[in-house]
Protein backbone atom coordinates (compact mmCIF):
# COMPACT_ATOMS: atom_id res chain seq x y z
CA UNK A 1 0.00 0.00 0.00
CA UNK A 2 2.75 2.43 0.98
CA UNK A 3 4.65 1.43 -2.16
CA UNK A 4 1.66 2.14 -4.37
CA UNK A 5 1.29 5.64 -2.92
CA UNK A 6 4.99 6.37 -3.44
CA UNK A 7 4.74 5.14 -7.03
CA UNK A 8 1.66 7.26 -7.72
CA UNK A 9 3.33 10.31 -6.21
CA UNK A 10 6.44 9.80 -8.31
CA UNK A 11 4.37 9.46 -11.47
CA UNK A 12 2.32 12.58 -10.66
CA UNK A 13 5.49 14.53 -9.83
CA UNK A 14 7.09 13.52 -13.13
CA UNK A 15 3.95 14.42 -15.08
CA UNK A 16 3.85 17.75 -13.26
CA UNK A 17 7.48 18.39 -14.19
CA UNK A 18 6.79 17.51 -17.83
CA UNK A 19 3.82 19.89 -17.99
CA UNK A 20 5.76 22.65 -16.22
CA UNK A 21 8.84 22.22 -18.44
CA UNK A 22 6.76 22.17 -21.60
CA UNK A 23 5.15 25.49 -20.61
CA UNK A 24 8.05 27.47 -19.20
CA UNK A 25 11.43 26.31 -20.52
CA UNK A 26 13.06 27.92 -23.57
CA UNK A 27 13.22 26.03 -26.84
CA UNK A 28 16.94 25.15 -26.54
CA UNK A 29 16.54 23.49 -23.13
CA UNK A 30 13.39 21.78 -24.36
CA UNK A 31 15.17 20.39 -27.41
CA UNK A 32 17.77 18.83 -25.09
CA UNK A 33 15.00 17.41 -22.90
CA UNK A 34 13.23 16.06 -25.99
CA UNK A 35 16.42 14.40 -27.13
CA UNK A 36 16.86 12.85 -23.71
CA UNK A 37 13.25 11.67 -23.71
CA UNK A 38 13.50 10.01 -27.12
CA UNK A 39 16.83 8.40 -26.32
CA UNK A 40 15.44 7.23 -22.99
CA UNK A 41 12.64 5.40 -24.84
CA UNK A 42 15.17 3.84 -27.20
CA UNK A 43 17.71 2.95 -24.52
CA UNK A 44 15.10 1.41 -22.20
CA UNK A 45 13.71 -0.79 -24.94
CA UNK A 46 17.18 -1.70 -26.26
CA UNK A 47 18.11 -2.66 -22.71
CA UNK A 48 15.20 -5.10 -22.58
CA UNK A 49 16.63 -7.29 -25.32
CA UNK A 50 20.34 -6.69 -24.69
CA UNK A 51 20.54 -6.29 -20.95
CA UNK A 52 17.57 -8.13 -19.47
CA UNK A 53 17.27 -10.97 -21.98
CA UNK A 54 21.00 -11.03 -22.71
CA UNK A 55 20.55 -11.29 -26.48
CA UNK A 56 23.32 -9.00 -27.66
CA UNK A 57 21.86 -7.48 -30.80
CA UNK A 58 22.74 -4.40 -32.82
CA UNK A 59 19.56 -3.58 -34.71
CA UNK A 60 17.84 -0.61 -33.01
CA UNK A 61 18.77 1.75 -35.82
CA UNK A 62 16.72 -0.47 -38.14
CA UNK A 63 13.60 -0.43 -35.96
CA UNK A 64 13.93 3.29 -35.27
CA UNK A 65 14.14 3.88 -39.03
CA UNK A 66 11.02 1.78 -39.65
CA UNK A 67 9.07 3.68 -37.00
CA UNK A 68 10.32 7.03 -38.22
CA UNK A 69 9.45 6.40 -41.88
CA UNK A 70 6.01 4.96 -41.17
CA UNK A 71 5.07 7.77 -38.80
CA UNK A 72 6.41 10.41 -41.16
CA UNK A 73 4.51 9.01 -44.15
CA UNK A 74 1.28 8.93 -42.15
CA UNK A 75 1.77 12.45 -40.81
CA UNK A 76 2.78 14.32 -43.97
CA UNK A 77 -0.30 15.59 -45.83
CA UNK A 78 -0.76 13.74 -49.13
CA UNK A 79 -0.76 16.98 -51.12
CA UNK A 80 2.76 17.73 -49.85
CA UNK A 81 4.03 14.26 -50.73
CA UNK A 82 3.61 14.77 -54.49
CA UNK A 83 5.83 17.88 -54.38
CA UNK A 84 8.30 16.30 -51.99
CA UNK A 85 9.03 13.12 -53.96
CA UNK A 86 11.41 14.58 -56.51
CA UNK A 87 13.00 11.43 -57.95
CA UNK A 88 9.93 9.37 -58.79
CA UNK A 89 6.24 9.73 -58.09
CA UNK A 90 5.19 8.37 -54.72
CA UNK A 91 3.62 4.92 -54.76
CA UNK A 92 -0.21 5.09 -54.65
CA UNK A 93 -0.30 3.50 -51.20
CA UNK A 94 1.99 6.23 -49.88
CA UNK A 95 -0.59 8.83 -50.87
CA UNK A 96 -3.31 6.95 -49.00
CA UNK A 97 -1.35 6.82 -45.76
CA UNK A 98 -2.89 9.47 -43.52
CA UNK A 99 -3.45 9.53 -39.78
CA UNK A 100 -3.38 11.90 -36.87
CA UNK A 101 -0.40 12.01 -34.54
CA UNK A 102 -1.01 9.28 -31.95
CA UNK A 103 -2.24 6.65 -34.45
CA UNK A 104 0.67 7.50 -36.76
CA UNK A 105 3.20 6.96 -33.98
CA UNK A 106 1.49 3.73 -32.92
CA UNK A 107 1.51 2.47 -36.51
CA UNK A 108 5.26 3.08 -36.57
CA UNK A 109 5.62 0.97 -33.43
CA UNK A 110 3.38 -1.80 -34.75
CA UNK A 111 5.22 -1.91 -38.08
CA UNK A 112 8.52 -2.37 -36.22
CA UNK A 113 6.92 -5.09 -34.06
CA UNK A 114 5.75 -7.06 -37.09
CA UNK A 115 9.19 -6.86 -38.69
CA UNK A 116 10.69 -8.00 -35.38
CA UNK A 117 8.39 -11.04 -35.35
CA UNK A 118 9.43 -12.00 -38.89
CA UNK A 119 13.07 -11.35 -38.11
CA UNK A 120 13.12 -13.40 -34.93
CA UNK A 121 12.79 -16.68 -36.85
CA UNK A 122 16.14 -16.50 -38.61
CA UNK A 123 17.84 -14.35 -35.98
CA UNK A 124 17.26 -16.45 -32.86
CA UNK A 125 18.60 -19.58 -34.50
CA UNK A 126 22.01 -18.19 -33.61
CA UNK A 127 23.52 -16.97 -30.36
CA UNK A 128 26.27 -14.70 -29.19
CA UNK A 129 28.52 -13.00 -31.71
CA UNK A 130 26.53 -14.30 -34.66
CA UNK A 131 23.37 -12.70 -33.35
CA UNK A 132 25.21 -9.40 -33.13
CA UNK A 133 26.40 -9.59 -36.73
CA UNK A 134 23.07 -10.74 -38.19
CA UNK A 135 21.15 -7.98 -36.43
CA UNK A 136 23.80 -5.47 -37.48
CA UNK A 137 23.23 -6.66 -41.03
CA UNK A 138 19.50 -6.09 -40.63
CA UNK A 139 20.14 -2.47 -39.66
CA UNK A 140 22.22 -2.06 -42.80
CA UNK A 141 19.62 -3.69 -45.03
CA UNK A 142 16.90 -1.34 -43.76
CA UNK A 143 19.09 1.64 -44.59
CA UNK A 144 19.97 0.27 -48.02
CA UNK A 145 16.27 -0.34 -48.64
CA UNK A 146 15.42 3.23 -47.60
CA UNK A 147 18.06 4.53 -50.01
CA UNK A 148 16.86 2.42 -52.92
CA UNK A 149 13.07 2.68 -52.73
CA UNK A 150 12.45 6.28 -53.77
CA UNK A 151 8.75 5.62 -54.42
CA UNK A 152 8.26 4.97 -50.71
CA UNK A 153 11.05 6.79 -48.91
CA UNK A 154 12.17 9.50 -51.38
CA UNK A 155 15.59 7.85 -51.43
CA UNK A 156 18.64 9.65 -50.15
CA UNK A 157 16.77 12.97 -50.00
CA UNK A 158 14.60 11.65 -47.20
CA UNK A 159 11.33 13.09 -45.99
CA UNK A 160 11.02 16.65 -44.81
CA UNK A 161 8.36 19.05 -43.53
CA UNK A 162 7.07 16.38 -41.18
CA UNK A 163 4.46 18.10 -38.96
CA UNK A 164 6.13 19.01 -35.68
CA UNK A 165 3.57 17.65 -33.24
CA UNK A 166 5.93 15.89 -30.83
CA UNK A 167 6.54 18.35 -28.01
CA UNK A 168 7.94 17.54 -24.58
CA UNK A 169 4.43 16.78 -23.35
CA UNK A 170 4.19 13.87 -25.78
CA UNK A 171 7.80 12.75 -25.60
CA UNK A 172 8.12 13.04 -21.82
CA UNK A 173 4.86 11.22 -21.18
CA UNK A 174 5.68 8.39 -23.59
CA UNK A 175 9.14 8.07 -22.04
CA UNK A 176 7.51 7.79 -18.61
CA UNK A 177 5.08 5.17 -19.91
CA UNK A 178 8.01 3.25 -21.42
CA UNK A 179 9.83 3.26 -18.10
CA UNK A 180 6.74 2.06 -16.21
CA UNK A 181 6.04 -0.69 -18.75
CA UNK A 182 9.66 -1.84 -18.71
CA UNK A 183 9.79 -1.95 -14.91
CA UNK A 184 6.55 -3.92 -14.88
CA UNK A 185 7.91 -6.36 -17.44
CA UNK A 186 11.14 -7.07 -15.57
CA UNK A 187 9.25 -7.86 -12.36
CA UNK A 188 6.68 -10.01 -14.15
CA UNK A 189 6.78 -13.72 -14.96
CA UNK A 190 8.08 -12.81 -18.42
CA UNK A 191 10.82 -10.65 -16.96
CA UNK A 192 12.03 -13.44 -14.72
CA UNK A 193 12.03 -15.81 -17.68
CA UNK A 194 14.02 -13.27 -19.70
CA UNK A 195 16.63 -13.02 -16.96
CA UNK A 196 16.76 -16.81 -16.78
CA UNK A 197 17.44 -16.97 -20.52
CA UNK A 198 20.21 -14.42 -20.04
CA UNK A 199 21.87 -16.15 -17.11
CA UNK A 200 21.78 -19.69 -18.47
CA UNK A 201 19.82 -20.55 -21.56
CA UNK A 202 20.19 -24.29 -21.23
CA UNK A 203 19.08 -24.25 -17.60
CA UNK A 204 16.11 -22.07 -18.56
CA UNK A 205 15.11 -24.58 -21.23
CA UNK A 206 15.42 -27.36 -18.68
CA UNK A 207 13.05 -25.48 -16.38
CA UNK A 208 10.43 -25.57 -19.11
CA UNK A 209 10.87 -22.06 -20.43
CA UNK A 210 10.29 -21.74 -24.16
CA UNK A 211 13.40 -19.66 -24.73
CA UNK A 212 12.58 -18.88 -28.35
CA UNK A 213 9.20 -17.46 -27.34
CA UNK A 214 10.71 -15.41 -24.51
CA UNK A 215 13.38 -13.98 -26.80
CA UNK A 216 10.79 -13.18 -29.44
CA UNK A 217 8.51 -11.45 -26.93
CA UNK A 218 11.43 -9.37 -25.66
CA UNK A 219 12.51 -8.59 -29.22
CA UNK A 220 9.01 -7.52 -30.29
CA UNK A 221 8.43 -5.39 -27.19
CA UNK A 222 11.78 -3.76 -27.72
CA UNK A 223 11.00 -3.16 -31.40
CA UNK A 224 7.60 -1.67 -30.58
CA UNK A 225 9.05 1.03 -28.36
CA UNK A 226 11.98 1.62 -30.69
CA UNK A 227 9.49 2.16 -33.51
CA UNK A 228 7.54 4.59 -31.35
CA UNK A 229 10.77 6.37 -30.44
CA UNK A 230 11.53 6.58 -34.15
CA UNK A 231 8.13 8.11 -34.86
CA UNK A 232 8.64 10.71 -32.15
CA UNK A 233 12.12 11.41 -33.51
CA UNK A 234 10.72 11.99 -37.01
CA UNK A 235 8.12 14.44 -35.76
CA UNK A 236 10.60 16.15 -33.42
CA UNK A 237 13.28 16.63 -36.10
CA UNK A 238 10.74 17.26 -38.94
CA UNK A 239 13.31 15.84 -41.42
CA UNK A 240 14.56 12.28 -41.81
CA UNK A 241 17.13 10.82 -44.19
CA UNK A 242 18.46 7.24 -44.37
CA UNK A 243 21.87 8.38 -43.08
CA UNK A 244 20.40 9.38 -39.73
CA UNK A 245 19.75 5.73 -39.02
CA UNK A 246 23.30 4.53 -39.40
CA UNK A 247 25.15 2.38 -36.89
CA UNK A 248 26.10 5.56 -35.01
CA UNK A 249 22.61 5.58 -33.49
CA UNK A 250 22.98 2.01 -32.24
CA UNK A 251 26.44 2.82 -30.93
CA UNK A 252 25.13 5.72 -28.86
CA UNK A 253 22.44 3.50 -27.39
CA UNK A 254 25.00 0.81 -26.65
CA UNK A 255 27.16 3.28 -24.72
CA UNK A 256 24.11 4.37 -22.76
CA UNK A 257 23.01 0.90 -21.70
CA UNK A 258 26.56 -0.20 -20.92
CA UNK A 259 27.12 2.90 -18.79
CA UNK A 260 23.83 2.38 -16.97
CA UNK A 261 24.60 -1.28 -16.44
CA UNK A 262 23.29 -3.94 -18.81
CA UNK A 263 19.93 -5.02 -17.45
CA UNK A 264 19.19 -2.01 -15.25
CA UNK A 265 16.27 0.10 -16.48
CA UNK A 266 16.76 2.98 -14.06
CA UNK A 267 20.48 2.76 -14.87
CA UNK A 268 19.67 3.17 -18.56
CA UNK A 269 17.52 6.20 -17.76
CA UNK A 270 20.20 7.89 -15.69
CA UNK A 271 22.85 7.03 -18.29
CA UNK A 272 20.67 8.56 -21.02
CA UNK A 273 20.60 11.82 -19.12
CA UNK A 274 24.36 11.69 -18.51
CA UNK A 275 25.33 10.73 -22.05
CA UNK A 276 22.92 13.04 -23.87
CA UNK A 277 23.78 15.85 -21.50
CA UNK A 278 27.51 15.44 -21.97
CA UNK A 279 27.05 15.09 -25.74
CA UNK A 280 25.65 18.60 -25.59
CA UNK A 281 28.26 19.79 -23.12
CA UNK A 282 31.18 18.28 -25.08
CA UNK A 283 30.05 19.99 -28.28
CA UNK A 284 33.01 22.36 -27.91
CA UNK A 285 35.32 19.43 -28.68
CA UNK A 286 34.09 19.33 -32.26
CA UNK A 287 34.62 23.06 -32.76
CA UNK A 288 37.70 25.10 -33.43
CA UNK A 289 39.85 25.18 -30.29
CA UNK A 290 42.78 27.40 -29.41
CA UNK A 291 45.57 25.48 -27.64
CA UNK A 292 48.71 27.50 -26.85
CA UNK A 293 47.61 30.13 -29.31
CA UNK A 294 47.20 27.61 -32.14
CA UNK A 295 43.89 27.03 -33.85
CA UNK A 296 43.12 23.35 -34.10
CA UNK A 297 40.38 23.88 -36.66
CA UNK A 298 36.97 22.28 -36.48
CA UNK A 299 37.15 18.50 -36.23
CA UNK A 300 33.78 16.83 -36.18
CA UNK A 301 34.02 13.39 -34.58
CA UNK A 302 36.17 14.36 -31.59
CA UNK A 303 33.22 13.79 -29.26
CA UNK A 304 32.76 10.31 -30.66
CA UNK A 305 36.46 9.57 -30.06
CA UNK A 306 35.89 10.51 -26.43
CA UNK A 307 32.82 8.29 -26.17
CA UNK A 308 34.56 5.38 -27.87
CA UNK A 309 37.39 5.66 -25.33
CA UNK A 310 34.80 5.87 -22.56
CA UNK A 311 33.21 2.63 -23.77
CA UNK A 312 36.55 0.80 -23.96
CA UNK A 313 37.69 2.07 -20.54
CA UNK A 314 34.38 1.04 -19.01
CA UNK A 315 34.66 -2.45 -20.44
CA UNK A 316 38.21 -2.74 -19.10
CA UNK A 317 37.71 -1.32 -15.62
CA UNK A 318 34.02 -0.95 -14.75
CA UNK A 319 32.16 -3.61 -16.65
CA UNK A 320 29.09 -3.36 -14.44
CA UNK A 321 28.33 0.25 -15.29
CA UNK A 322 26.46 2.42 -12.82
CA UNK A 323 24.02 -0.04 -11.32
CA UNK A 324 25.07 -3.45 -12.64
CA UNK A 325 21.91 -5.35 -13.48
CA UNK A 326 19.91 -3.94 -10.58
CA UNK A 327 17.47 -1.06 -10.23
CA UNK A 328 18.14 2.07 -8.23
CA UNK A 329 15.32 1.40 -5.73
CA UNK A 330 16.68 -2.10 -5.11
CA UNK A 331 20.10 -0.66 -4.31
CA UNK A 332 18.66 2.00 -2.00
CA UNK A 333 16.45 -0.54 -0.25
CA UNK A 334 19.43 -2.84 0.37
CA UNK A 335 21.43 0.08 1.76
CA UNK A 336 18.66 0.81 4.27
CA UNK A 337 18.30 -2.84 5.22
CA UNK A 338 21.99 -3.08 6.01
CA UNK A 339 21.81 0.05 8.16
CA UNK A 340 18.81 -1.32 10.03
CA UNK A 341 20.66 -4.52 10.86
CA UNK A 342 23.75 -2.71 12.08
Amino acid sequence: MKNAIVKLLLILLTLGFIAWANQTLDSYTLSILNNIGIFAILALSYNLINGVTGQFSLEPNGFVAIGAYFTALFLIPSSDKIDMFALVDPAPIVLQMQASFLPAVLIGGIAATIIALLLSFPVFRVRGDYLAIVTLGFGFIIRIFALNSPAYTNGAMGLNDIPEVANFMWIGTIALITLIVMLHIIYSKYGRAMKAVRDDEDAATAMGINTFRIKTVAFMTSAFFEGIGGGLLASFLTTITPDQFSFLLTFQLLIIIVLGGLGSMTGALLATILVMGSMEWLRFLDDDMVIFGMHTGAHPGMRMVVFAILLIVMMLFARKGLFGDREIHEIIRDKFKKKGKA
Binding site: G54, P122, D129, M315
Partner: protein
Amino acid sequence: MDFSTFLQQLINGASLGSMYALIAIGYTMVYGVLRLINFAHGDIMMVGAFLTLMGVTAGLPFPLAVLLGIIGTVIVGILTDKIAYKPLREAPKISLLITAIGISFFLENLFNVIFGGIPKAFPAPDYLTKVLHLGEIYLPVTVIIIPVVTVLILGGVLWVLYRTKYGMAIRALAFDIPTVKLMGVDADRIITIVFALGSALAAIGGVFYAISYPSIDPLMGVIVGLKAFAAAVLGGIGSVTGAVIGGFILGFTEIFVVALFPELGGYKDAFAFFFLILVLLFRPTGIMGEDLERSRF
Protein backbone atom coordinates in the same frame (compact mmCIF):
# COMPACT_ATOMS: atom_id res chain seq x y z
CA MET B 1 26.20 -11.33 -72.07
CA ASP B 2 28.80 -12.23 -74.72
CA PHE B 3 31.98 -14.08 -73.97
CA SER B 4 34.34 -11.10 -73.71
CA THR B 5 32.04 -9.29 -71.27
CA PHE B 6 31.76 -12.49 -69.31
CA LEU B 7 35.53 -12.80 -69.13
CA GLN B 8 35.85 -9.16 -68.16
CA GLN B 9 33.33 -9.56 -65.32
CA LEU B 10 34.96 -12.80 -64.26
CA ILE B 11 38.27 -11.03 -63.76
CA ASN B 12 36.57 -8.09 -62.01
CA GLY B 13 34.86 -10.56 -59.70
CA ALA B 14 38.15 -12.30 -58.94
CA SER B 15 39.70 -8.95 -58.09
CA LEU B 16 36.87 -7.90 -55.77
CA GLY B 17 36.74 -11.37 -54.25
CA SER B 18 40.47 -11.21 -53.52
CA MET B 19 39.99 -8.09 -51.43
CA TYR B 20 37.22 -9.72 -49.42
CA ALA B 21 39.33 -12.84 -49.04
CA LEU B 22 42.36 -10.96 -47.70
CA ILE B 23 40.24 -9.28 -45.04
CA ALA B 24 38.22 -12.41 -44.29
CA ILE B 25 41.40 -14.32 -43.41
CA GLY B 26 42.03 -11.89 -40.55
CA TYR B 27 38.50 -12.37 -39.21
CA THR B 28 38.64 -16.10 -39.43
CA MET B 29 42.06 -16.44 -37.75
CA VAL B 30 41.18 -14.19 -34.82
CA TYR B 31 37.87 -15.98 -34.44
CA GLY B 32 39.58 -19.33 -34.61
CA VAL B 33 41.91 -18.47 -31.76
CA LEU B 34 39.90 -16.11 -29.53
CA ARG B 35 36.29 -16.84 -30.55
CA LEU B 36 35.98 -13.09 -31.05
CA ILE B 37 34.43 -11.31 -34.01
CA ASN B 38 37.00 -8.56 -34.31
CA PHE B 39 34.64 -5.73 -35.20
CA ALA B 40 37.61 -3.42 -35.67
CA HIS B 41 39.14 -5.54 -38.42
CA GLY B 42 37.48 -3.60 -41.24
CA ASP B 43 38.82 -0.41 -39.69
CA ILE B 44 42.31 -1.93 -39.50
CA MET B 45 42.06 -2.22 -43.27
CA MET B 46 41.14 1.48 -43.42
CA VAL B 47 44.18 2.28 -41.25
CA GLY B 48 46.36 0.41 -43.76
CA ALA B 49 45.03 2.47 -46.66
CA PHE B 50 45.46 5.77 -44.80
CA LEU B 51 48.97 5.03 -43.54
CA THR B 52 50.00 4.13 -47.08
CA LEU B 53 48.42 7.37 -48.30
CA MET B 54 50.46 9.27 -45.69
CA GLY B 55 53.65 7.67 -46.98
CA VAL B 56 52.81 8.49 -50.59
CA THR B 57 51.91 12.09 -49.70
CA ALA B 58 55.21 12.40 -47.84
CA GLY B 59 56.95 11.68 -51.14
CA LEU B 60 58.05 8.09 -50.53
CA PRO B 61 58.19 5.73 -53.50
CA PHE B 62 55.00 3.68 -53.73
CA PRO B 63 56.35 0.22 -52.74
CA LEU B 64 58.12 1.70 -49.72
CA ALA B 65 54.95 3.56 -48.69
CA VAL B 66 53.00 0.31 -48.92
CA LEU B 67 55.60 -1.50 -46.85
CA LEU B 68 55.60 1.18 -44.14
CA GLY B 69 51.79 1.22 -44.27
CA ILE B 70 51.70 -2.51 -43.64
CA ILE B 71 54.17 -2.24 -40.77
CA GLY B 72 52.22 0.63 -39.21
CA THR B 73 48.97 -1.32 -39.54
CA VAL B 74 50.54 -4.37 -37.93
CA ILE B 75 51.58 -2.20 -34.99
CA VAL B 76 48.05 -0.79 -34.67
CA GLY B 77 46.61 -4.30 -34.86
CA ILE B 78 48.93 -5.62 -32.16
CA LEU B 79 48.25 -2.60 -29.96
CA THR B 80 44.47 -3.10 -30.14
CA ASP B 81 44.98 -6.63 -28.92
CA LYS B 82 47.42 -5.70 -26.15
CA ILE B 83 45.45 -2.72 -24.86
CA ALA B 84 41.86 -3.70 -25.39
CA TYR B 85 41.46 -7.45 -25.86
CA LYS B 86 44.18 -9.00 -23.75
CA PRO B 87 42.89 -7.74 -20.35
CA LEU B 88 39.52 -9.30 -21.22
CA ARG B 89 40.60 -12.83 -22.10
CA GLU B 90 38.79 -14.25 -19.07
CA ALA B 91 35.83 -11.84 -19.24
CA PRO B 92 32.40 -12.72 -20.69
CA LYS B 93 32.54 -12.79 -24.47
CA ILE B 94 29.99 -10.00 -24.75
CA SER B 95 32.41 -7.63 -22.98
CA LEU B 96 35.04 -8.49 -25.55
CA LEU B 97 32.57 -7.84 -28.35
CA ILE B 98 31.55 -4.47 -26.91
CA THR B 99 35.22 -3.50 -26.57
CA ALA B 100 35.81 -4.47 -30.19
CA ILE B 101 32.90 -2.23 -31.23
CA GLY B 102 34.47 0.54 -29.14
CA ILE B 103 37.83 0.09 -30.89
CA SER B 104 36.12 0.14 -34.26
CA PHE B 105 34.38 3.41 -33.44
CA PHE B 106 37.53 4.86 -31.96
CA LEU B 107 39.59 4.21 -35.11
CA GLU B 108 36.86 5.49 -37.44
CA ASN B 109 36.41 8.74 -35.55
CA LEU B 110 40.10 9.26 -34.82
CA PHE B 111 40.89 9.09 -38.54
CA ASN B 112 37.85 11.24 -39.20
CA VAL B 113 39.28 13.89 -36.88
CA ILE B 114 42.80 13.65 -38.33
CA PHE B 115 42.00 13.40 -42.04
CA GLY B 116 38.45 14.77 -42.27
CA GLY B 117 35.42 12.85 -43.50
CA ILE B 118 35.76 13.90 -47.15
CA PRO B 119 36.99 11.05 -49.38
CA LYS B 120 40.68 11.47 -50.20
CA ALA B 121 42.09 10.69 -53.64
CA PHE B 122 44.55 7.80 -53.55
CA PRO B 123 47.46 8.45 -55.92
CA ALA B 124 48.36 5.03 -57.29
CA PRO B 125 51.42 4.91 -59.56
CA ASP B 126 50.83 4.81 -63.32
CA TYR B 127 52.14 1.29 -63.77
CA LEU B 128 49.27 0.02 -61.61
CA THR B 129 46.45 2.07 -63.13
CA LYS B 130 47.41 1.40 -66.76
CA VAL B 131 44.69 -0.29 -68.80
CA LEU B 132 45.59 -3.20 -71.06
CA HIS B 133 43.60 -3.97 -74.20
CA LEU B 134 43.29 -7.64 -74.98
CA GLY B 135 41.02 -7.83 -77.98
CA GLU B 136 37.68 -6.53 -76.70
CA ILE B 137 38.63 -6.81 -73.06
CA TYR B 138 39.86 -3.80 -71.17
CA LEU B 139 41.84 -4.70 -68.12
CA PRO B 140 43.43 -2.33 -65.64
CA VAL B 141 46.71 -3.84 -64.48
CA THR B 142 45.51 -3.89 -60.86
CA VAL B 143 42.61 -6.18 -61.67
CA ILE B 144 45.13 -8.83 -62.75
CA ILE B 145 47.70 -8.14 -60.03
CA ILE B 146 45.24 -8.32 -57.14
CA PRO B 147 44.09 -11.96 -57.58
CA VAL B 148 47.62 -13.11 -58.38
CA VAL B 149 49.07 -11.48 -55.27
CA THR B 150 46.18 -12.83 -53.19
CA VAL B 151 46.79 -16.39 -54.32
CA LEU B 152 50.51 -16.03 -53.55
CA ILE B 153 49.70 -14.61 -50.10
CA LEU B 154 47.23 -17.39 -49.42
CA GLY B 155 49.94 -19.89 -50.27
CA GLY B 156 52.24 -18.13 -47.84
CA VAL B 157 49.64 -18.14 -45.06
CA LEU B 158 48.87 -21.80 -45.55
CA TRP B 159 52.60 -22.55 -45.52
CA VAL B 160 52.96 -20.69 -42.21
CA LEU B 161 49.96 -22.49 -40.75
CA TYR B 162 50.85 -26.02 -41.80
CA ARG B 163 54.62 -26.08 -42.21
CA THR B 164 55.97 -23.98 -39.34
CA LYS B 165 56.08 -24.33 -35.59
CA TYR B 166 54.15 -21.08 -35.21
CA GLY B 167 51.43 -22.36 -37.49
CA MET B 168 51.16 -25.52 -35.46
CA ALA B 169 50.84 -23.42 -32.30
CA ILE B 170 48.13 -21.28 -33.90
CA ARG B 171 46.16 -24.34 -34.92
CA ALA B 172 46.58 -25.82 -31.48
CA LEU B 173 45.33 -22.64 -29.80
CA ALA B 174 42.18 -22.84 -31.87
CA PHE B 175 41.44 -26.11 -30.11
CA ASP B 176 42.29 -25.44 -26.52
CA ILE B 177 44.21 -22.49 -25.09
CA PRO B 178 44.88 -23.79 -21.53
CA THR B 179 46.28 -27.10 -22.73
CA VAL B 180 48.52 -25.39 -25.25
CA LYS B 181 49.84 -23.19 -22.46
CA LEU B 182 50.60 -26.28 -20.39
CA MET B 183 52.65 -27.60 -23.30
CA GLY B 184 54.97 -24.65 -22.84
CA VAL B 185 53.67 -22.46 -25.67
CA ASP B 186 53.59 -18.71 -25.02
CA ALA B 187 49.94 -18.25 -25.98
CA ASP B 188 50.03 -14.45 -25.85
CA ARG B 189 52.94 -14.35 -28.27
CA ILE B 190 51.10 -16.61 -30.70
CA ILE B 191 47.97 -14.47 -30.43
CA THR B 192 50.12 -11.43 -31.19
CA ILE B 193 51.37 -13.21 -34.31
CA VAL B 194 47.77 -13.93 -35.34
CA PHE B 195 46.86 -10.25 -34.99
CA ALA B 196 50.02 -9.19 -36.83
CA LEU B 197 49.32 -11.56 -39.70
CA GLY B 198 45.65 -10.57 -39.91
CA SER B 199 46.48 -6.86 -39.81
CA ALA B 200 49.14 -7.20 -42.51
CA LEU B 201 46.67 -8.94 -44.82
CA ALA B 202 44.01 -6.33 -44.04
CA ALA B 203 46.50 -3.56 -44.87
CA ILE B 204 47.26 -5.18 -48.22
CA GLY B 205 43.51 -5.50 -48.81
CA GLY B 206 43.13 -1.83 -47.92
CA VAL B 207 45.79 -0.78 -50.42
CA PHE B 208 44.12 -2.90 -53.12
CA TYR B 209 40.80 -1.30 -52.30
CA ALA B 210 42.33 2.17 -52.45
CA ILE B 211 43.85 1.49 -55.88
CA SER B 212 40.66 -0.05 -57.29
CA TYR B 213 38.32 2.64 -55.96
CA PRO B 214 40.67 5.55 -56.15
CA SER B 215 39.39 7.37 -53.08
CA ILE B 216 39.41 6.44 -49.41
CA ASP B 217 37.54 7.73 -46.36
CA PRO B 218 37.55 6.86 -42.64
CA LEU B 219 34.33 4.82 -42.94
CA MET B 220 35.44 2.72 -45.90
CA GLY B 221 36.20 -0.24 -43.63
CA VAL B 222 32.68 -0.60 -42.25
CA ILE B 223 30.86 -2.12 -45.20
CA VAL B 224 33.88 -3.94 -46.61
CA GLY B 225 34.66 -5.34 -43.18
CA LEU B 226 31.11 -6.61 -42.70
CA LYS B 227 31.10 -8.19 -46.13
CA ALA B 228 34.43 -9.85 -45.46
CA PHE B 229 33.03 -11.19 -42.23
CA ALA B 230 30.02 -12.55 -44.11
CA ALA B 231 32.49 -14.16 -46.51
CA ALA B 232 34.32 -15.75 -43.59
CA VAL B 233 31.08 -17.20 -42.23
CA LEU B 234 30.05 -18.37 -45.68
CA GLY B 235 33.33 -20.21 -46.06
CA GLY B 236 33.16 -21.61 -42.54
CA ILE B 237 34.54 -19.40 -39.81
CA GLY B 238 37.86 -20.61 -38.49
CA SER B 239 38.94 -21.99 -41.86
CA VAL B 240 41.46 -19.94 -43.87
CA THR B 241 40.72 -21.75 -47.12
CA GLY B 242 37.03 -21.30 -46.42
CA ALA B 243 37.53 -17.55 -45.94
CA VAL B 244 39.17 -17.31 -49.35
CA ILE B 245 36.44 -19.37 -51.02
CA GLY B 246 33.76 -17.28 -49.29
CA GLY B 247 35.48 -14.07 -50.37
CA PHE B 248 35.58 -15.16 -54.01
CA ILE B 249 31.97 -16.36 -54.01
CA LEU B 250 30.86 -13.01 -52.61
CA GLY B 251 33.01 -11.09 -55.09
CA PHE B 252 31.68 -13.03 -58.11
CA THR B 253 28.08 -12.76 -56.90
CA GLU B 254 28.25 -9.01 -56.48
CA ILE B 255 29.82 -8.44 -59.88
CA PHE B 256 27.58 -10.86 -61.79
CA VAL B 257 24.28 -10.00 -60.19
CA VAL B 258 24.87 -6.32 -60.92
CA ALA B 259 26.02 -7.14 -64.46
CA LEU B 260 22.96 -9.29 -65.19
CA PHE B 261 20.37 -7.23 -63.29
CA PRO B 262 21.59 -3.62 -63.30
CA GLU B 263 18.44 -2.49 -61.49
CA LEU B 264 19.66 -4.34 -58.39
CA GLY B 265 22.85 -2.28 -58.32
CA GLY B 266 21.74 -0.21 -55.34
CA TYR B 267 21.22 -3.34 -53.30
CA LYS B 268 24.64 -4.86 -53.89
CA ASP B 269 25.81 -4.00 -50.39
CA ALA B 270 22.94 -6.07 -49.00
CA PHE B 271 23.83 -9.34 -50.78
CA ALA B 272 26.45 -10.22 -48.21
CA PHE B 273 23.85 -10.17 -45.45
CA PHE B 274 21.33 -12.22 -47.37
CA PHE B 275 24.11 -14.76 -47.85
CA LEU B 276 24.95 -14.55 -44.18
CA ILE B 277 21.36 -15.15 -43.08
CA LEU B 278 20.91 -18.00 -45.57
CA VAL B 279 24.12 -19.70 -44.45
CA LEU B 280 23.24 -19.36 -40.79
CA LEU B 281 19.79 -20.79 -41.47
CA PHE B 282 20.80 -23.82 -43.51
CA ARG B 283 24.44 -24.57 -42.85
CA PRO B 284 25.72 -22.57 -39.88
CA THR B 285 29.18 -24.10 -40.20
CA GLY B 286 29.67 -22.67 -43.68
CA ILE B 287 31.27 -24.43 -46.62
CA MET B 288 34.54 -25.58 -45.06
CA GLY B 289 33.60 -25.45 -41.39
CA GLU B 290 33.23 -28.74 -39.63
CA ASP B 291 31.88 -27.87 -36.26
CA LEU B 292 31.14 -24.43 -34.84
CA GLU B 293 32.47 -25.22 -31.41
CA ARG B 294 35.72 -26.68 -32.65
CA SER B 295 36.47 -24.89 -35.85
CA ARG B 296 39.96 -25.45 -37.20
CA PHE B 297 42.11 -23.87 -39.86
